[in-house]
């Protein structure tokens, strides 16, 4: 590959502008729709920004519930990515498996929030719904299933020699690349840059539980896979501790009433599955934002393809791009290969994926592995 060019499609949705005509309560539902996969990370960052402006301290119960939602989301998002990456590499069994065991996570969401997606849980000063303590044992049971199955999945992916051969050394990003491009989340952590908002600028219940930031040194597709898979384990452990914490708190104390939002500005961020989500809100004393700037992690992560793809073969393009877990539904839906000199289209998206899958098949044959 010689060069990569970025063309944004017609999908500017004007959400920032729309926020300026909504009340603070309504903005939560709007920003929840920025992304379908990490739909709670935007309300999370927005709540952090607003709570900075009006200076409120949440109750522990609200903190635990927020972290439970945030971590469940990380599990289902990472499982979704593992499935997609498997598909791009010609491992459709991984795809089926990962997506099957994403289902119990969505069931948990339904138990807690009433929705499989777009949970509508956040508000300034707390959360909208409580988790009844009597429900916790049945939630733990579902979580145990998720843990058992993801352990199997992690073992299968990490021990597969074909996946090692196919993803190691592919799409490498160095520490310097990460810093130059301002890349975030698992993309940065897989290159040995240990940044994680949950630890660096603690919010919600993260300072109340024990967990560690997962990093790897390779910077290639394998390292990114490793970081995401191990983060699933950490998330499960965080949720278990949060559920335990809930049993010690009084039921019903889920919000602090906030009556007025003063004039000022807030900078809130939260660690979404793909990296830091950042919200800047300026208020003028009225009940709607004067200005609301949203920065999703893909905005910084996608740019790194200039480093990770160039010099690679075309069959590695899809996985090198997919390794940063780009939120393509929020960005663009098409990928093409152009002839560099004539500008003519040579390959489309599905042909690109097919190329990636063929390369895995060849490695499989060389290693004499069955499908």
């Amino acid at each position: 590959m010689k060069d990569v060019q970025w063309v944004t499609g017609y999908n500017h949705r004007g959400i920032e502008k729309l926020c300026e005509s909504k009340t603070f309560d309504q903005v939560f539902f709007l920003v929840e729709r920025v992304c379908g996969i990490c739909s709670t990370s935007h309300p999370f960052a927005f709540a952090n920004a607003m709570e900075e402006i009006c200076n409120v301290e949440l109750t522990n119960r609200a903190k635990y519930i927020r972290s439970i939602i945030g971590e469940l989301e990380r599990i289902h998002s990472h499982l979704l990515w593992v499935g997609l990456a498997g598909h791009f590499l010609g491992y459709n069994t991984v795809f089926m498996w990962a997506w099957k065991y994403r289902e119990p996570v969505l069931d948990l969401f339904e138990m807690i929030t009433g929705n499989r997606n777009s949970y509508a849980m956040f508000k300034i000063g707390g959360v909208r719904r409580d988790i009844e303590n009597s429900m916790i044992p049945s939630m733990k049971k579902v979580l145990d299933i998720v843990k058992k199955k993801t352990d199997l999945l992690i073992g299968a992916v990490m021990d597969d020699p074909v996946i090692h051969a196919r993803t190691k050394g592919v799409g490498i990003l160095t520490k310097e690349d990460i810093i130059q491009y301002g890349a975030l989340g698992p993309t940065a952590r897989a290159s040995g840059v240990p940044i994680d908002v949950r630890r660096d600028d603690p919010y919600a219940a993260y300072p109340l539980v024990n967990w560690k930031v997962i990093t790897a040194e390779g910077g290639d597709v394998f390292a990114k896979t490793e970081v995401r898979l191990l983060e699933i384990n950490e998330s499960i452990s965080i949720i278990e501790q949060c559920l335990e914490g809930l049993t010690k708190e009084k039921e019903g104390e889920i919000e602090v009433k906030v009556k007025e939002i003063p004039e000022g500005f807030g900078t809130g961020h939260a660690e979404a599955p793909r990296g830091e989500v950042f919200h800047f809100v300026k208020t003028d004393g009225s009940n709607y934002p004067k200005r609301h700037k949203i920065r999703a992690p893909s905005y910084m992560n996608i740019g790194t393809f200039k480093k990770s793809c160039i010099g690679q073969t075309i069959s590695d393009a899809t996985i090198a791009l997919a390794a940063v877990d780009p939120c393509y539904c929020c960005t663009e839906r098409m990928a093409y290969v152009y002839n560099y000199s004539t500008g003519e289209k040579i390959l489309n998206g599905s042909e690109l994926i097919k190329l990636g899958q063929q390369k895995t098949d060849e490695i499989r044959k060389q290693l004499k592995m069955d499908k």
Binding site: T8, G182, F265, T267, F280, K290, K293, R295, Y299, G303
Partner: protein, 143 residues
């Protein structure tokens, strides 16, 4: 390095270019500077002091067009907002994209939405509305 030490270092280095400093809390600070010092400030924060560039936000107020450059010192969780004020008519400021790739897209976006001209930007073309909006019309700018 504590927040206070960081702010002191910024104050010592930028001296007369500083308009105002406001330490909101242990992990949030605002530094207002003159627009001509933006590259100097970026060099100091990004290259010398190891800040991460989060993003920049533009907005229009009664005073003119404002840009907040948001930086993060992850090791202590500090968000430092670098603020500049530009005139409403013909707002322009030196681009950072030539030296720092992370600023490239957001400068294009701010140019597109607010009509801020980034001087010496390597490629100041439209980022999000190519082919859909008229030239010289800036959708977020109020007349």
């Amino acid at each position: 390095m504590t927040t206070e030490a960081i702010i002191n270092k910024v104050r010592d280095n930028l001296k007369d270019d500083i308009v105002e400093i406001n330490i909101k809390s242990n992990v949030r600070a605002l530094v207002s500077i003159k627009p001509e010092a933006v590259q100097k400030a970026y060099d100091l924060l990004f290259s010398e002091m190891g800040f991460r560039f989060i993003i920049a936000s533009a907005l229009q107020s009664k005073e003119g067009i404002e840009i907040y450059y948001h930086f993060s010192k992850d090791i202590i969780g500090l968000i430092l907002n670098l603020h500049v004020l530009l005139p409403k008519d013909n707002p322009q400021i030196e681009s950072l994209a030539d030296k720092y790739v992370a600023a490239n897209w957001i400068e294009r976006e701010m140019h597109e939405l607010y009509g801020i001209k980034f001087l010496n930007h390597p490629n100041l073309e439209k980022l999000i509305s190519d082919g859909n909006w008229a030239e010289g019309v800036y959708p977020y700018k109020e007349e």
